[in-house]
Symmetry: C2
Subunit: 160 residues, 2 copies
């Protein structure tokens, strides 16, 4: 697998990865009806950096990296990761998370924080814990899951 910075030319393929995840509304706090333009702006333009993971020349995952807060809080970063449905269970998320930690360190970030890990997203919670993230908070009824209803969300944190 090869992880590299995304370019504007990757937009159409990145949207293929984002669209089903955002439309499903099960894991990201994003309006399920978000437009392609707004979604790509939020994923590829607004963050500090955006990456894609390639396997056999095909993009199978993408992540963004941004400061989680401004001013006195801008030394902690935040990332979001999406893996192509057909490539799940192959270590793509783990590879991207490890890569993002190295990228963040190289940019001078001191820690990484996830603000809203939907508690029903158990695979993600387990993976982040295995990669050294601690649960530092739990938000009651933080997320309206389309199937599970109101579920908690975890706040997770790792010092880099």
């Amino acid at each position: 697998m090869h992880i590299r910075q995304a370019t504007p030319a990757d937009g159409p393929r990145v949207w293929e990865l984002l669209e089903p995840v955002f439309r499903a509304g099960e894991t990201f706090a994003v309006n399920p009806a978000i437009s392609r333009a707004d979604a790509l702006h939020g994923w590829m333009d607004a963050p500090r950096a955006t990456y894609v993971a390639e396997s056999d020349g095909r993009i199978v995952g993408t992540y963004y990296l941004r400061p989680n807060q401004q001013g006195g809080g801008d030394h902690i970063c935040n990332c979001g990761y999406i893996v192509d449905r057909a490539s799940r269970g192959q270590g793509v998320a783990e590879a991207m998370c490890r890569h993002s930690q190295a990228s963040a360190q190289a940019m001078g970030f001191a820690a990484m924080q996830f603000n809203l890990v939907v508690a029903t997203n158990e695979g993600a919670v387990r993976l982040w814990q295995r990669l050294g993230f601690a649960v530092i908070g739990r938000i009651p009824d933080a997320f309206r899951h389309p199937v599970a209803g109101l579920v908690d969300a975890l706040i997770m944190y790792k010092r880099l």
Copy 2:
């Protein structure tokens, strides 16, 4: 004290309240060098609503109210409050926080969350606790305080 929705005409006075607080960089995760235009946009235009507290016809405090997340997380709101230095200790923050909870309920929000309460801001922490907010998380070294250095921040939450 009278609390009402802010209008564009309140901008100059709101900026008088925001500027010293943002420039000091001790309580808000805002770039201390933020421009007047960006600060006022973030406080008065971007949020769902912005209010001012008047005492004897003079604005002594202001707060904003916005969804804390989008999509499946947009039923929890977030607020920020600033009280004029000359009017502190007179219950302005408490009055605004109570007002914001009523405003949020009227808008249909189910809970209120503060994402980054700087731990050194002890007066605020005590006040939010007294008003029913629980500490649901603590972010290690979340904030670079200009005097105290790296300090933790609290995540606080109240069901409405």
